[in-house]
Amino acid sequence: MAAPAADASRPAAQEELIVLQDVHKIYQMGTAQVKALAGVSLSVRRGGFWAIMGPSGSGKSTMLNLLGCLDRPTRGRYVLNRHDVSTLSDDGLSEIRLREIGFVFQSFNLIPQLTVQENIELPLYYQGWAAARSAERAEELAAMVGLGDRSGHRPTELSGGEQQRVAVARSLANDPSVLLADEPTGNLDSATGQQIMELFAELNRRGKTIVLVTHEPHIAGYAGHRLHMRDGRVDRIEAEA
């Protein structure tokens, strides 16, 4: 049922793209402290396909946000593609997100005022690409996710599955070293969810490193590694044989 994991099959893929060392994330709630992550260590190799699973409140989203440089760990070290990002400034984190990371969200998160093409172009705009070149790339990406003919449409004119494919196209625009997805199929019916997962599997086969959060075992089945979390810690890791 699960797509075959392609990682570890190429020599270049041996390199460790993500390294977490004893990472803590503590939220201060008044006088109480919430330990969303309580000492996570992990390494993800380039080309890997990981699914993070676990009960609600176990720290999956917190972990993904840290991996995505939306937040800094309270303690511990995070190295992404040889950049130590644990202590970067806000601008530094933005720059890393812009160059290294692609996000796909549960609720698609397209900007409604912008067309499909403009949404896909957004990372390129912030990278300072010339309009013509960026339009060309957006066109290619739209075609790749099967929406080549919908470039001029608004997100609201698309179905959920189509919107999520636009979001995937957008997340790929900056050719990120890792694709992060928090329950990307959570708002889709199972058939549409499968289509999105097929897209992810295809991207992984072409070498893209992917980390996604999911509740559903059959979604997690697409991944080569399944990381189970409990109370802010890594409970266990299942790897495809």
Partner: protein
């Protein structure tokens, strides 16, 4: 490439504002009125000072004009007790001014009398001005034909006269009239020149009039004397006036007002009654400036309050917009937008908003002076720098009041912003 990004940002800003057309328009009203007031204020002020300058040009900024004034008590008692009223400026006044005040360059005595002028069949009621050659140095009007009075005309007590262009026209004279005789009252004068006449306009009274005829002062003294008779409502009235006017020209405009004060106290000493008036053209300028200042305070306050209210309105709307678009901000931040890029995006939006308001305000602001001129007859000029200033103010309002919402947008935690519903 940088320019195309700016254009893209502005276009995006316009697009977002167009999503809420009515809201944007209402928001911008304060800026519209504020900028409108600024333009109106500048236009009225500019018009007023331009008019004052024009008056000064006509009257001469370095001049002081003294004129004879019939005192009020004489007016009241004239019919009954006073056989003859004596008032006005004295020959000695003119001498004293000329001799004792070092700042005075020229003092021009004038004695005038109303007489009918006749040239062939045509007649015109003239104001015959007995004066000196210096008159034409102080009231400097172009000579259209012939020449002005000279010192030798006075030395020789020549029976000559200079007409104004208006008088010439009314008497059907031409430049060929020069050299011919004009009959004034019972006497004949040779016409020696024609000068341009200045039309008194509005509140401003020039020392010369269109119906003037200039003759040597000593001729006027000899022929008409100091006593004149006036018939009014059956009673005869005698008046004795030595000089009707003295024009004083001062070395520099700084010395005009001190000299006027000195003349005032000197005249007070030698005149028992208040039978003279001192007018200082420069004071008109001061008055115009005071008017302008009052106007500026009133309109400036309106402008300031409107701009403040308008700015707060813009800030309010932008804060609402930031809240509405929290998720968009989160998305942009997650994708890699830096805080300053978010600030830039929202700031451009407020600047577009306030600039559009400013442009509308300029259009309205240019109609107000037009209406003021049409309805109140006040001269107005919309100065070019006023338009530039207004645009700067609009952009400034956008920046000042847009900065806080923009910074607030940029400072949002991207994770929280993404979760926002």
């Amino acid at each position: 490439m940088h320019r195309s990004r700016a254009i893209r940002n502005i276009r995006l800003g316009i697009k977002n504002l167009m999503l809420h057309k009515l809201r944007s328009m209402l928001t911008v009203l304060g800026v519209v009125f504020g900028v409108g007031s600024v333009i109106a204020m500048l236009a009225v002020g500019e018009g007023a000072s331009r008019e004052a300058l024009e008056q000064i040009r006509k009257l001469g900024s370095n001049n002081i004009i003294l004129s004879a004034l019939k005192p009020v008590e004489d007016e009241q008692t004239s019919g009954r007790t006073a056989f003859m009223s004596m008032y006005g400026l004295l020959y000695e006044d003119e001498q004293r001014i000329r001799q004792t005040m070092p700042a005075v360059v020229r003092a021009v005595p004038v004695k005038h009398v109303r007489k009918e002028g006749r040239l062939g069949e045509r007649a015109l009621e003239l104001r015959v001005m007995g004066t000196t050659a210096d008159w034409f140095a102080v009231v400097n009007r172009p000579v259209l034909a012939g020449r002005k009075l000279t010192q030798s005309d006075l030395d020789g007590q020549a029976a000559v006269c200079v007409l104004t262009e208006y008088g010439t026209r009314r008497l059907l004279a031409t430049e060929h009239t020069i050299g011919q005789s004009l009959r004034i009252g019972g006497d004949y004068y040779e016409v020696i020149g024609i000068v341009q006449s200045e039309q008194s306009s509005g509140s401003i009274q020039t020392p010369d009039q269109e119906v003037d005829a200039y003759i040597p002062l000593n001729v006027a003294q000899a022929r008409y004397g100091d006593i004149s008779m006036r018939r009014s409502a059956g009673s005869q009235e005698m008046e004795m006036v030595e000089l009707h006017m003295i024009l004083v020209q001062v070395r520099s405009s700084d010395e005009v007002e001190p000299t006027a004060d000195a003349i005032q106290s000197m005249l007070k000493r030698f005149h028992k009654k208040e039978d003279y008036r001192i007018s200082v053209p420069l004071a008109l300028l001061r008055q115009a400036e005071a008017t302008k200042r009052t106007f500026n305070i009133v309109l400036g306050s309106i402008a300031g309050i409107s701009l403040l209210v308008g700015g707060i309105g813009i800030m309010n709307i932008m804060l609402a917009s930031v809240t509405e678009r929290t998720r968009e901000i989160g998305i942009r931040r997650a994708i890699g937008a830096k805080q300053r890029q978010i600030i830039g995006q929202f700031l451009i939006e407020t600047i577009v908003l306030s600039t559009v308001g400013g442009l509308i305000g300029i259009a309205i602001g240019m109609m107000i002076p037009w209406l003021v001129t049409r309805l109140a007859g006040m001269p107005t000029i919309v100065p070019a720098y006023g338009i530039v200033l207004s645009l700067c103010i609009s952009v400034g309002v956008g920046i000042v009041f847009g900065l806080y919402p923009a910074v607030r947008a940029a400072k949002m935690d991207p994770i929280v912003a993404l979760r926002h519903e």
